[in-house]
Each structure stands twice: as C-alpha cells, then as structure tokens.
C-alpha cells in the first residue's frame, strides 16, 4: 500500500503547511500551479502537456480567497478520510458530502475545480485520493485482470465475463493485467458501435480489447488503456465520429487535455486515430450532415492548438473545413450491418 501512504503523507504535509502559520499568528498562503491555457506547455521528454512555471496565490487573509481556501482544506480532509476508510467517492458524492461539514459549493463544477486544485497542489491525481467521476465507460475483451482493491485482493476477472461489457471503475482501474490473448486495444466513441463490435465478434476477429469511451473518456478509462498499452504492449486504435469533437477525443488520449495537464501517466502518444477521417467520408461516400457554427468554430480553435501542429492533423482540419460536412460512426450502416467490421475496420487495422 505504498501509494496510499504517499497520499496520506502528502495530505499531512499540506495540513502542516496551513496550520503552522496560524499557530504563529499568521494567515497561511498557498501557491497553486496556474491551469490557464497559456501556462500549458508541451514537455518533449514526457511527450505530454504539462503545466508551466506560473502559479496563483490563494491567500487566506483575502476575503475573496478565504472561501475557496476553506473548500480546498475541507476537500483535503475529506480525501484523508476516504483513504483511511479505504473508501471511494464520486465527484458528485463529494459535492453533496460537503454540506454535512458546513462547507458550501455553489454547484458541482465549483467542487470539481477545487478537486483539481488539490491535484495541482499535491501533484497527485484525484484517483489517488479515492475520488472518481461518474463512470460511463466500459471494456470488453480477452484480458484477465487481478483486483487489488480491499475485499477483492487477488481475485481475477476475465473481461469477457459479460456480453454487455464491464464498467470501468476504480477497482478495474487499479487492477493489474495478468495475461491477454488480445493484440490491440480498440477504443470506440459510441455505445452503439461498442455493442455492434461485441455482437459481431469483431473482438475475436481483430484480437481486440474493446473500450467504449462514451464521449470524452474519464481518466480512469484513459489510465486503464494506458495500463494495457504499457504492461501488455498492446497498440491502441481509436475510432470516433468524423467531426472535430471526435477527432479531439482521440487527441486527448494521445497528448492529454488542458484540464489534466498537471497529471502524469495518462497519455498514450503512440495511439492511432483511425477515423472517421475527412478522407474516409469521401472515400466511403458516407451519408453526411453539414457542419454548424459551433463545429466550424471548434475547427478554428483546434487549428491553432499546439497539439495539432503536426502536418497530418493540419491536413485533417483543412479537409474538414473544405468539406464542411461531418459523419457519425454509424454512417457505415448504409452499406449493411457488417460493413463496418468486414470492410472498414479490416481496411484500417489489418
């Protein structure tokens, strides 16, 4: 239980940093790395985005700071309780728990932000404190994992156990891969495509571990994918809708998000976006929808994003802008139920 000891020590140190000035009749001040986008830089050695040198001050003597200072202190104390009791809490749960302590958050996004503050200040991911988002990702494939969570220590599980896939939660995230018959990890954006690939036994055909991302995937999912990638050496393929949002899901898995720039060990730089690319849309003559203003605006933003500075990505963006259309994963169904597996994925993966 090395990790939990480290988390507890970090929290204790944080407490001392706050209480010591008070004992000396001073107001404590905390320095938190700045998460603004202009403080996010690409770290070549880590091959991911990290926070730059600038930081913000949280001064407890400042009337405007004191509330969030108190929220941060409470969140840390709450994390300590979670670890000591070997419990976990969802972000939503944490938001509601605060009321029992007389700590008020205006809404969940405020409490989520404070949790991120705690990550930044301690350098530990929230999962290390037993705090998880609501899960909506699943996994299915020929992999055996071994749980390490209390009560299940040492128990193994086959990820094909349920035909619906297995939800990815804290237990699965921390579980250790034992062995696998799979060759690749195939992550898909929508639940519909995930089910289709299970039903058509595409996982068998491609020897793939299927991951349902459900939009922007939670960190637990990204962490599990990375775990499979690093410990089993499985290459990662990402299959999303053919629009700027789908493209960005893939990009975040590869290079990390601005939101989690303070977290290490989440990115899979070698992952590959197989599509739907703008090229696919024309090549497979997919049914399309025209892009709306938000789509075009998003493209504009992405074209300036450092993560998209590579030639290949700039080409994708340029093509999208030129075509002004988008296509969903399900668009392949126009050629029949099995087209996507028999033709498209075979083309792309094999």
């Amino acid at each position: 239980m090395h990790d939990t000891d480290r988390a507890l020590n970090t929290l204790k140190e944080l407490g001392e940093r706050i209480i010591q000035p008070i004992l000396d009749e001073n107001f404590p001040v905390l320095e938190i790395p700045d998460r603004k986008t202009d403080n996010i830089v690409f770290d070549e050695t880590l091959n991911q985005f990290v926070l730059g040198p600038s930081s913000v001050i949280r001064d407890s003597s400042n009337v405007k700071h004191v509330r969030s200072f108190a929220q941060l202190t409470w969140t840390a104390a709450f994390a300590k309780e979670l670890i000591e009791a070997a419990r976990t809490s969802s972000l939503r749960d944490l938001y509601y728990s605060s009321e029992a302590f007389g700590v008020k958050f205006r809404n969940q996004s405020e409490s989520d932000r404070i949790v991120t503050d705690l990550e930044c200040i301690t350098g530990l991911p929230r999962e290390g404190f037993g705090i998880y988002p609501e899960e909506h990702s699943s996994i299915y494939g020929k992999v055996r994992m071994k749980y390490i969570v209390p009560g299940y220590e040492g128990r193994e599980i086959d990820l094909t156990i349920s035909p619906d896939g297995l939800p990815i939660g804290p237990a699965l995230m921390t579980a250790e891969p034992v062995d696998s018959d799979a060759q690749i990890v195939l992550a898909v954006e929508s639940g519909g495509m995930f089910s289709r690939l299970i039903e058509t036994k595409a996982w068998d055909r491609f020897s793939a571990v299927l991951v349902q991302l459900g939009g922007q995937p939670p960190r637990a999912t990204r962490r599990l994918m990375r775990n499979l990638h690093t410990s089993l050496g499985l290459p990662v393929f990402i299959f999303t809708d053919g629009d700027p949002w789908g493209m960005h899901i893939a990009k975040v898995i590869m290079s990390g998000s601005a939101n989690a720039a303070h977290i290490r060990n989440l990115t899979i730089p070698s992952a590959k976006w197989i599509g739907v690319t703008p090229e696919d849309i024309s090549e497979y003559a997919l049914p399309t929808e025209s892009m709306n203003n938000q789509d075009l605006k998003r493209l504009e933003e992405l074209s300036r994003d450092v993560r998209y500075s590579g030639r290949e990505w700039q080409n994708h963006i340029r093509d999208f802008k030129r075509m002004r259309v988008k296509a969903e994963q399900q668009a392949f169904s126009r050629y029949g139920m099995d087209f996507v597996v028999d033709t498209y994925l075979s083309d792309k993966i094999l």
Binding site: G15, E25, T73
Partner: protein, 505 residues
Amino acid sequence: MSHQKSQTITFESISPAEFFYRNRQMAGFGNPTQAVYSTVRELVENSLDSCEDAASLPRIEIDIQDDTSDNIIIKVFDNGCGVPSDEIPNAFGRVLYGSKYSQRQKRGTFGLGVTMAILYGQITTDSPLIVHSKTPDSQGMLYQLLVDVENNEPIVERSEELQRSENGTTVTVTIKGDLKRAYDRLMDYLKLSVISTPHARISLTIGDNVVNHFGRFSNTIPAPVIASLPHPRAADLEMLRRLTQKNSSKTLHDFLCDSFQRIGPKTTARFLRFMNMNPHQIVGEMTREDLTKLGTSLRSYDGFEKPDSGCLSPIGKQEFVRSVASQFNTTLTHYSVRGPSEWQGNPFVIEAVLATGDDFPRSDTPSLFRFANRVPLLYDSSDDILTRVMKRTRWARYNLHTAVPVALFVHVCSTRIPFKAAGKQSIASVPEIENEAQLLFKELGRKLSKMTTKVQASAREIKKMREFSKSFRQIVRFSASLAELENVPSTENLVQALFEVDTDA
C-alpha cells in the same frame, strides 16, 4: 301688471355666534362624531395654552361620561393659570373674544373654538357650561353659563365662590355626540398631542375607568414666548385702521416706530423718504386713501428686516426626537429645521422628524403626521400643503423603497398659521411655507439616504466578517485534522486584527 305678489325683502344682521352656529361645520362641529373630537380638542388646547402662560408642566385630565341618550358630558381639568373671575363669562360665553389676538404662537387663534363647543352643547342638549377656575388671586370661582346666541353675549345662570385646591380651570360641557365613533380619532389626537407638547401629561377617563395616560416625555418647560408687535409687512388696511384710531394724535413717524417691530427711527425715515410721505402727518387725519397707500407701501417695501422669531416656540430637536421615539417604536430618527422665515410678515419655523420603525406602514412615501403650533392636525390631510409637498418629493431618490417603514412628523409654527378653515385641520398653500417644506423634506431625505447607505454598508461589513470567520474556522479545523493536531487553535485574534485593519483603511 300681473297679480304676482311682490316679495318683501327684509335685511337683518346676525351675530357672530349665530353665524358660526349656522356654519358649524366650518369650525369642526359638522356631525356628532366630529363634535366630540372638536370639543375635547378645543378644551385641551385652551388648557395647554393656559399652562404655557403659567409656565407649569401641564397636567390635563379629561373625563368623559356617556349617558344613555347620546348626551356626553366632557370635563377637562388643567393646572394652568386660571381665568380671572370677571373675565370668565366673556371668555367662554362670547364668540371672537379672547386673549389670543397678540403676535405670538398660540394653539388657539380665533377665540372661537371653546365657545363653539358651548354653543353646540347648549343647542343640542340645552345644558349650560360649568367653569370652575382659580387664579393666584382667588380661592376659586364656579360659573354656570349659557350663550345668548342672538346678541353674542353670555348669560350667567349661577356663579358662586367655590374652593379649588390649585390654580387652573375645569370646564364641563354636555353635548350630543357619538363617542364610539370619535374614540379612535380622540386617541390618535391625544397620542400625537404629547408628541408636539412633550412636557404635558394627559389622562383620559371614559366612564369610571382610566383608559389611558399620555406623556410626559420631557420635564423641560419650553422658554416662554414673547409677544411682539406686528411686522410692517403684516399690516393690512383693517389693522392700520384699528391702530391709527388707537394712536390718532401721533405723527406718522412716531406711529410707525411705536406700532411695529423691526422699524426704528432710521428705518422709518428711510422708508418715508423712499415712499415720499410726510413724517409729520398726524395719523388721525389720514384719509382712507392715505391708509391704503401706506398699507401697500409697508407690504411692498423691501428694506425691513425679517420678523422677530422670539414669539415662536418650536419643539426643538431633542424634545421632538425624544417624543417621537417614546410614542412609536423607532429605529432611526432624523431631525431638521428651517427658518425662521416669514410669510406676509408672519414669522414661521418649520421642523420635522423623519423616523423609521416597525410601527409605521411600509409604503413608497412616508406616513405624514402634521402639527401646527404644537397641535396635531388629523382631518383634511389631502387638502394640506404639507401633504402635497410630501407627495411631490421624490423619496425613491433617497433610497426609500416600499420595504422601509417610515414616517414624517412635520411641525409648522407661526404667529399666524394660514388654515384653510376655522376647523383648523389643514394648512393653505402659501408659497413661502411650501418652499421651506420642500427644502426641509429634501434635507431629511438626504439624511435618511446617507444613514441607510451607512447601515447597509456596516451590515455588509458585518456579514462579510461573519462569513470570513466561518470560512477561516473551517480552514483551521480541517487543516488541524490533516496535520493530526490534537487541539484546534483559536482564530479570534487573527480575524479580529484583520478586520480592524480593514475598517481603518
């Protein structure tokens, strides 16, 4: 020629008593409810004036007995200066006779009110008035009086010496009236009377039970007012005629010096030169035209100083604020005064208290309480110039919103209050009073606004500090638990120090 009967028109004069009885609504005796209220009011005001003359702390006892046939016996006792026995019949039994025609602030003005009450009682119940009075020079004298309406003369039914333990007057009148319906007005009137006369104590007994005590909120007797000569600008033809008749042998120069205030030999000489009049003219020989010219000149000449205000008796800041705060539940009070100023040669002072408190209704304009020469005005408020000025004032500008319960107590005092009618219930529109009232209300509005802002700011400050210290206590508690500290240190000193610095800055 037709057979029409030619009408004979007969001319006859009526006495003032008869005139006022026929037009009794003018004097506030229009109906049985108003009659009860007006009777009590006239008697109480007379008593208060009398106590002021005696320079005593007024103690007034009102006793009302209601018999079965709507006959109401009203008895008012005071500890004033009393009425000399030989003046009693005329003072009470004759309309427009009295001691109140001098140039000074008095509650009564026309010498009419009490006699109206007597007249009204006499005609509705056929019972005489009973006056029992004692001056320092007498042991006490009891009179039973009626009014000869046709001739405006008192009829003495009975008079006898009767011992009275202290100086003062007790008047008993029997009238037809509606006590039940007058009751609320009466209570309002007495409640407000002790605000404008805070040094008075008034008790009201109805039947055999003491119903209520009002006042006293102050033991300070106001400085006695000094009667003054009329100001030259107040001179009208009637006054000039009366004065010249009294001083018919004087020269115009001496007459002006002796009969008016603010006009000595120098001013007189300047005035007469300016108006091109002969200073040596004997006033008794002046023609009507001369007098008219003199009156017009006196009223229009702008070289006279402001009228003397020593004849006025404003309530004063301390007393006014204290009496308002004693009678009502107030949170904030503001006092302002304007004047002395004048209207047509009559000096006047206007003072007001703006009070907030739960007793007052919540509205976007303050509830208005009007006083004239220390008498509360209860009827006809919509006709009153003060009401109109109050409504015209844009209170919303001064942070007065419907959520604030606020009242405005305004007192106008003058040697002459321009009442609209003999009932003395509303003040007529006089530009000078209107202007001063306007300025006064604005001044109070600004004070209110300033105070509200201050109160809000300090409430915000307190709230801020409370929230801060709550958050800070949490910081200490949770960080102590993180650091595994046994005891949670106190935060009070730190927070206190922080906010002391903040408020200084």
